[in-house]
């Protein structure tokens, strides 16, 4: 087994709002090994993006703050780094792809300038070398006529092409970890297929580890080696992709899998999960899913279940699988 590249331990990221403290990330732990794709899946507001932002030190202060836990990248504690050290790490070793390619590029700079920037900032290339490398990167991500694209502005390209450019920028310094936050959500399915293929190619060619954040279980099934399911700021289940899809344990994971309409498996009615995601302010000490859960027991309303190993590599936080539940 290869070593963990990124280790998150008991991370807590809170946002301080006038109406109370939002525990967006509430004590989560996860690992990404070298060359592995880990998917974080969950619905909006479950804390998946905030987890990624915390890794990169991009949580907006002072409203938001990492209040506990630690994040280690290759043994280095990311939370202790100075701003300068963080800057050197971002782009060089860890790169990020955002959801909205249209709004994450600077509209007044040419594509060429934006691709070359990390090359001279991080790799200290000369202008000429950077240009050559940028052209190479653009063709690497599958865009024809790279010389012309170098002089184009973002508004002249389509969403799919812009996302390719974002990927080109992200991989320009050969990062060891790529964090992709919903990289295909804003794109059409045929373009999504192209981008997912590209990400897989990059992973195979450069052995890049990928932390992929998505709400789409279809994307998870295609990309992930290991899956982490989040709900209301907590990890509620995790496991290797095959195990998790064939043998989901947590009622929420099961519900999610059954709620999604799947082509070729039409049902008379979709199984829906009743109710909605709880407000993250002032949550009581209970299982956060209890009021939507079919198998809710009395203990679920009183105590929070811990994430516990139930099978090799498969962990779940649910009282159904704990012996203690019988006693409570």
């Amino acid at each position: 087994m290869t070593n963990a590249l990124l280790t998150i331990d008991h991370l807590q990221t809170h946002f301080f709002t006038p109406s109370g403290v939002v525990k967006a990330v509430n004590d989560i732990s996860l690992r990404v090994r070298e060359g592995e794709t880990v998917c974080i899946v969950g619905e909006s507001g479950c804390g998946k993006s905030v987890t990624a932002m915390s890794v990169l030190g991009l949580v907006a202060e002072p409203q938001g703050k990492v209040v506990g836990g630690d994040i280690r990248f290759d043994g280095v504690d990311l939370l202790q780094l100075s701003p300068l050290e963080k800057q050197q790490l971002r782009g060089n070793d860890i790169a990020m792809i955002f959801q909205e390619p249209m709004s994450s590029l600077n509209p007044v700079l040419t594509i060429g300038e934006q691709i070359m920037e990390p090359l001279w900032e991080h790799l200290l290339l000369s202008k000429k070398e950077a240009r050559a490398k940028a052209i190479e990167l653009i063709s690497l991500v599958g865009i024809p006529r790279p010389e012309e694209i170098m002089n184009a502005y973002p508004h002249q390209l389509s969403g799919g092409m812009l996302q390719r450019i974002m990927i080109a920028i992200a991989i320009s310094c050969n990062p060891r970890l790529l964090i992709a936050d919903e990289p295909t959500t804003a794109l059409d399915v045929t373009i999504q297929a192209q981008i997912l293929d590209l990400l897989r190619e990059i992973k195979e060619t450069y052995n890049t580890a990928i932390l992929l954040i998505t709400h789409d279980l279809g994307v998870v099934a295609e990309m992930a080696d290991y899956v982490v399911v989040m709900y209301a700021g907590k990890v509620i289940e995790e496991g290797p992709v095959l195990e998790l899809f064939s043998n989901p344990r947590h009622p929420y994971t099961r519900g999610l899998l059954q709620a999604k309409p799947v082509i070729g498996q039409r049902k008379k009615r979709l199984n829906s999960i009743p109710g909605q995601v709880p407000n993250l302010i002032g949550l009581a000490d209970s299982c956060y899913f209890h009021d939507r859960c079919e198998s809710c027991m009395s203990v679920c309303r009183l105590k929070q279940p811990e994430l516990k190993q139930i099978d090799d590599g498969h962990r779940v936080a649910c009282w159904l699988y704990e012996e203690e539940s019988g006693l409570a």
């Binding site: 399915v189 297929a193 709400h215 295609e222 899998l257 999604k260 799947v262 979709l270 829906s272 999960i273």
Partner: protein, 321 residues
């Protein structure tokens, strides 16, 4: 075969592109370019396609929310684009529209009850004393509680707001509803609730739907007949099971194979299309899909394929079928 409720014939909707200092028209975006199809009474017709394919414009033009450029739309035999404003207004209650974004389609300063009851009052379909009762009736039909009637939109979640949007349209007892991506902005668990609501309502109220979506799995679940659009044209129309079992157009095949299936054991041969959807302001000559089609021949570059019957009830526009 049941009679057609809505008949769309050679419908076109072009938007002018202006340029130069005098703002002259220098071209057209052909958002809907010669589209013909019929929606039968009681069916749920799905219109799928990628962004920019013209599916929303088609939906809006059918209900005359925007004027056509050419062609006709017949609703129960009446040409909606030819009738007078008064006549159209009289017909409005029976044809309703549900919007994609439940956050921007409700007036934030209007109580939910007023927003839902407004249309009844405007059309003079109920008097004041009746309205509150009718609103509470549709609220419960749409899975909301009677006490929600005096609340404001910001007090609701996305899924609940979409329920309000649906309640607003069905209070007028419509026969025909155009729903434009009504579940796209919702999370999976909520999306399932709303999809179920759509099918329940159809059963209870014998509604006819035009359901516009980019998500093939949602359309497969809800619709009985499906049309696939590409760059303003319909490329294939077929009953659901037929379309998913035997897609004929290369674009439909590629679209189907691109949808990720939540089953990691499944290893599929995927048709990955190269390139992007071309600009509708300057669509390719001949078959509009030829620039991305893996099977394109010289004929496809020159000659426009027409939508024709390939099998009983299965229409396709492709030279190779």
């Amino acid at each position: 075969m049941r009679e057609a409720l809505v008949e769309v014939k050679q419908l076109k909707k072009y938007y002018p592109i202006t340029g130069g200092i005098f703002g002259r028209t220098i071209g057209h975006v052909k958002a809907v370019d010669d589209v013909s199809f019929a929606i039968r009474k009681g069916e749920a017709f799905g219109l799928v396609g990628e962004s920019g394919s013209g599916k929303s414009t088609t939906g809006r033009t059918i209900l005359r929310l925007t004027d056509k450029t050419a062609g006709e739309v017949k609703y129960k035999g009446v040409d909606l684009h030819a009738v007078s404003k008064q006549e159209l207004r009289r017909l409005r209650p029976s044809m309703q529209f549900i919007f994609q974004d439940p956050y921007s389609s409700l007036n934030p300063r209007l109580r939910v009850g007023d927003a839902i009851g407004e249309a009844l009052m405007d059309h003079g379909l109920a008097d004041k004393s009746e309205i509150r009762e009718r609103v509470q009736e549709v609220l419960s039909l749409c899975g909301l509680a009677p006490y929600h009637i005096d609340r404001f939109p910001h007090e609701f979640s996305g899924g609940q707001r979409q329920r309000i949007g649906i309640a607003r349209s069905i209070i007028l007892q419509p026969e025909f509803i155009v729903a434009d991506e009504p579940v796209s902005a919702l999370d999976v668990s909520i999306q399932a609730q709303i999809i179920n609501l759509f099918s329940d309502l159809q059963e209870k109220k014998e509604l006819t739907y035009l359901f516009i979506s980019h998500d093939l799995s949602v359309v497969e679940h809800l619709c009985t007949r499906i049309g696939v659009m590409y760059l303003g044209s319909l490329v294939e129309i077929a009953p659901r099971d037929e379309l998913f079992a035997r897609p004929l157009h290369p674009y439909t095949r590629a679209l189907l194979s691109a949808v990720p299936i939540p089953d990691p054991r499944l290893k599929r041969e995927r048709i990955v299309l190269r390139g992007d959807i071309p600009s509708p302001a300057n669509p390719p000559k001949g078959c509009k899909f030829h620039t991305r089609c893996p099977l394109a021949t010289d004929r496809c570059k020159e000659e426009v394929p027409v939508l024709r019957l390939a099998d009983s009830d299965h229409q396709v526009a492709c030279h190779l079928v």
